[in-house]
């Protein structure tokens, strides 16, 4: 295995620093100020950034490297969540067995689905994975109700076995006694920074997952996956059987999704079937494309971008808008609020859709292409040579 080059090391360091300092970086506005609406530095959202980041990194190993577009990744996320909650129900609230089982179950499940779906490629592969995911969703909703608790969602009850739990055991998910929901609040002047145990557990997994993905990208295995994306037919004609490689990539990416699902359930011990629905699978695809498929860090950014919109923009309701534009004359204020409320609150999908269109049209390489263009422009402005060959998205 080749060692990492300096640019990879820099990216890795970047991810580590960003993950560890997220509570500061995501909370730029003082609490209580008007702009606090846009702060994202609260535990739940930061946790979401981390585990959806893991999900997108895993998806990118499949889609970014091999070009196989899976429309069923949410199924593995769901399987991971259910596995973890079942471990909570049967053993105890320690997240370790849950997360291990989540990864294993998602791995097995993706082996099964991958084995069948990978007999086809292109659109047929996408349709097959979509069908499997929808099937899992429908099963979780109806036939498998004893296992999934249907629409109510699988949750832990006081009368569950929990055989490893002693008398005064902790009654929420924890890592050997460190409770996931514990939050340390640091009040610095007008700012309140929240350091949450659960987030740092997620962040640790994110860093590990990212490191692993860098190693895969730079390994001979990763090269083979890129070869599949470039021209699978040609690869087959040279006598290489590409299916074991695609299957391996599929299973790895399924296990990443399982890990994400396990973490999701560990942060919030309830697993609902909706997280397996096709819209959830589509969201993963959006995250990856929005951030930049085939780049290392793009999918993480894409995941953060979408989750930010979902959680922050959806909460800007008409009352908040009226508050912002209260300085305007009455008629004008109402008009402005009427226009803007279409794009915020429950209209956040619209804003996200528009941004997605803009990005796909003007920056086909996603947010990462935007970042590259800015750095190029910056370098050009400072009179430097821009013949930089280090950035090589796997096209």
């Amino acid at each position: 295995m080749k060692s990492l080059n300096s640019s990879d090391k820099r990216t890795l360091l970047f991810v580590i620093v960003i993950s560890l300092l997220a509570p500061f970086l995501l909370n730029p506005f003082p609490t209580g100020s008007g702009m606090a609406q846009f702060n994202a530095g609260y535990p739940d959202l930061m946790q979401r950034f981390a585990y959806f980041g893991i999900l997108a990194i895993g998806f990118n190993i499949l889609f970014g490297l091999t070009g196989y577009l899976s429309f069923g990744h949410a199924a593995f996320l769901g399987v991971g969540s259910y596995a973890t909650v079942w471990m909570f129900k049967l053993l105890s609230y320690n997240i370790v067995p849950g997360i291990i089982l989540a990864v294993i179950m998602a791995g097995l499940f993706s082996l099964l689905i991958g084995f069948i779906s990978l007999r086809r490629s292109g659109i047929y592969f996408s349709i097959l994975t979509l069908a499997f995911a929808q099937m899992s969703f429908a099963l979780a909703y109806s036939v498998l109700t004893p296992l999934t608790n249907g629409e109510t969602g699988l949750q832990v009850y006081n009368d569950d076995p929990q055989i490893l739990m002693g008398e005064n055991a902790i009654t929420s998910p924890h890592l050997f006694g460190l409770k996931m929901q514990d939050t340390f609040t640091l009040d610095l002047g007008p700012w309140a920074f929240q350091f949450n145990v659960g987030y740092y557990v997620c962040a640790l997994f994110l860093i590990l997952a990212f490191y692993l993905s860098v190693r895969i990208f730079r390994s001979p295995f990763g090269l083979m996956l890129r070869a599949i994306k470039t021209n699978q037919t040609r690869l087959n004609y040279t006598g290489i059987n590409s299916r074991p490689y695609t299957l391996a990539a599929f299973v790895i990416s399924g296990m990443y999704a399982g890990l994400a699902g396990g973490l999701m359930a560990s942060m919030d011990p309830l697993a609902g079937a909706e997280r397996m629905q096709w819209t959830a699978s589509g969201e993963i695809v959006l995250m990856t494309i929005l951030g930049g498929a085939g780049t290392l860090i793009g999918p993480v950014l894409g995941a953060g971008f979408i989750k930010y919109f979902e959680n922050i923009f959806s909460k800007i309701n008409e009352t908040v808008l009226h508050g912002w534009f209260a300085w305007m004359p009455d008629g004008l204020e109402d008009a402005v609020v009427w226009v803007l409320h279409l794009f915020t609150g429950k209209g956040w999908h619209l804003t996200l859709g528009l941004l997605f269109m803009l990005i796909v049209i003007f920056l086909p390489g996603g947010l990462m292409e935007g970042a590259d263009r800015i750095t190029d422009w910056w370098k050009r402005k400072r009179g430097k040579d821009v013949s930089d060959t280090s950035k090589t998205p796997a096209e």
């Binding site: 090391k9 629409e151 109510t152 009368d159």
Partner: protein, 446 residues
């Protein structure tokens, strides 16, 4: 490059070190003993309702009622039911002198999204109480979350027995009635109209609410001598019910019970009427359809098809007591149409929470729970009501309604057939349909 890395490491190391050291000096400064204790001159409530998905119509009406309640609490408007409420603690100066502010969120009628939204209200906006929900699955999920986080959950529209049965929580309170009460109120009316010798066929939404309501209706009607031909579960996401309705006629049943709500009920009822079920004669008797949980919003969605169909509701705007009249008046003046039962229950929940905080003198969830447990009140449109301490369920009269044959306006769709007195719908805390739950202890969080 090694230069960059070293400097970067040093820098981040220093910042991290400072970050790690700081909390040990500065924490516990603002510790008030419970989650999100309001420190400034205002208090934040979280309104978590479906703004998209099959129950979006109910969600929108709930949000209107919440805004109206906040206006009244802060001294705006005409005060609505604050004037008729039997407890006179609320003065229109907010809650405990603090101005009421609110944040809203979209549950999308999904447990996951609802919990995410509730979590952000608690963690980011500092909400001290969460209320809302238009689906029992969502309400139960959010109630569990509030119990863990240490805030009060005032359930909105949730009709499953489980919300205050096997999934009941010490921090959760429900004003709305439930499946058991619907069944207890409906069964005698159905017996009187349709006779003892009937066979029912159930179509049931496949989740906690559908299951428990079906169980309740089956038990109550069988006690009156009815038989049950079959119970078919339908997924919540079903749009076309024709394949479920088709087998009904050959089953020998002469009553179809639709345990559906919102968009589901509109579609299944329309389907059943299109199949001509209501014109059929089975076993020498007229075929009938029953919709145990009714709402005005659903009735207007189903249009002509609801005429003459029996069901039950928590409240209806045509009631003539002082509380209902005051509420309909101020809601109507603000929005131009009468409120739905969903709007009524969430308005009451907000008032009850505010009143409990006033009486307890604190926002501490344990204090509020104590003030609400066993609280008896009237003047909120349902007559004499009691919040039972053992399971945090409100006990009050239940309305049996019928789709109006000759509606006078687009809102005048239901007529109240009978007001079933509270005594008839009460049940023991350890009733088998509600057993298995554990209220636990109130959790103030922090």
């Amino acid at each position: 490059m090694s230069n960059f890395t070293r400097r970067g490491l040093l820098k981040s190391g220093a910042v991290l070190g400072a970050g790690m050291a700081m909390p040990t000096i500065l924490t516990a400064a603002s510790h008030a003993g419970y989650t999100n204790a309001p420190t400034g001159s205002s208090v934040t409530l979280g309104f978590n309702v479906p703004q998209s998905g099959p129950y979006a119509g109910e969600g929108a009406d709930e949000l209107r009622a919440y805004q109206l309640a906040v206006e009244h609490l802060n001294g705006g408007g005409d005060g609505g039911m604050m004037n008729t409420f039997s407890s006179k603690e609320l003065k229109g100066n907010g809650i405990l002198g603090k101005k009421v502010e609110f944040v809203t969120g979209d549950t999308q009628t999904k447990s996951d999204a609802a919990r995410a939204s509730a979590k952000s209200m608690i963690e980011k906006d500092g909400a001290v109480m969460i209320t809302g929900g238009s689906s029992s699955g969502v309400a139960i999920a959010v109630q569990g979350l509030c119990q863990e986080a240490g805030v009060i959950f005032m359930a909105g529209l949730t009709h499953s027995n489980d919300t205050t049965g096997k999934d009941k929580k010490a921090n959760g309170f429900r004003h709305f009635f439930n499946g058991y009460m619907s069944a207890a109120a409906l069964a005698p009316v159905l017996e009187a109209r349709y006779g003892k010798d009937r066979t029912a066929y159930h179509l049931t939404a496949d989740y906690t609410w559908g299951w428990t309501q079906q169980e309740s209706i089956q038990a109550a009607t069988e006690a009156k001598g009815w038989q049950t031909a079959a119970n078919v579960l339908t997924p919540l996401a079903t749009q076309d019910f024709s394949s479920y309705v088709a087998p009904v006629l050959n089953s020998g049943a002469d009553v179809l019970v639709l345990n559906h709500y919102g968009g589901n009920m509109i579609n299944s009822l329309t389907s059943a009427v299109q199949f001509g079920l209501r014109d059929k004669m089975v076993n020498g008797k007229q075929f009938e359809i029953v919709v145990p949980l009714y709402s005005r919003l659903m009735a207007s969605g189903a249009g002509e098809n609801v005429k003459g169909i029996f069901g039950s509701t928590n409240w209806h705007w045509s009631l003539t007591d002082e509380g209902s009249k005051a509420f309909v008046k101020s809601f109507g003046e603000k929005y131009g149409f009468p409120p739905s039962q969903a709007a009524h229950t969430v308005y009451c929940q907000t008032m009850l929470y505010a009143d409990a905080a006033e009486r307890a003198g604190t926002f501490n969830p344990c204090g509020i729970a104590e003030a609400l447990e066993g609280f008896k009140f009237s003047g909120l449109g349902n007559g004499d009501v009691e919040y039972r301490a053992e399971d945090h369920q409100c006990f009050k009269d239940v309305l049996v309604v019928k789709g109006k044959e000759n509606p006078t306006s687009e809102f005048d769709l239901l007529e109240v057939v009978e007001i079933t007195p509270r005594a008839q719908v009460e049940y023991a805390v350890d009733h088998p349909m509600f057993a298995g739950g554990d209220l636990g202890k109130c959790n103030p969080g922090a």
